[in-house]
Symmetry: C2
């Protein structure tokens, strides 16, 4: 998998990221990973669900991983949860 097959979820509307996922599959990707941290995790699940149910009926959720990342900031170190959802045409 190349970096092109990863969609990072930020604060934009869900449909922006759905479009990115659908475009990658339409361009021939067999797997796309959706990555999010913190509050964007809820949006990542929305992106996966809308992509599959509305646009990509042949795509399945192949794997979901959760983890904790350490963030460095001016006020020191903090932990943030992260999630990766692997969508696949399998």
């Amino acid at each position: 998998m190349t970096d092109d097959d990863v969609v990072y979820i930020g604060n934009k509307p869900v449909m922006n990221y759905v479009l990115a996922v659908v475009t990658q599959f339409n361009n021939g990707a067999s797997e796309v990973t959706i990555k999010a941290r913190g509050r964007a995790i809820s949006r990542a699940v929305d992106v996966a669900e809308v992509s599959r149910h509305r646009f990509l009926p042949n795509v399945v959720v192949k794997d979901i991983q959760i983890s904790t990342e350490k963030l460095e900031s001016e006020r020191g170190e903090s932990n943030v949860s992260s999630m990766e959802i692997l969508l696949s045409t399998d």
Copy 2:
């Protein structure tokens, strides 16, 4: 699995739910499911991560499922994403 082994995530602080998860394992549960909908999904991941890393080193994430639920309200039907995280002592 009985209903006692499910922790539903709402709008309370993360540690409230962590305490619920840890208590169920300490009371002998071998599996605990964390369930959340909508924006609470991000908090559910926090609960799973904090429970494992700070309190339950022998517990692993055995499975994560995402799905879409239909909610009926006065203004009609709407879809909401949901997630289940299965924690296990396996």
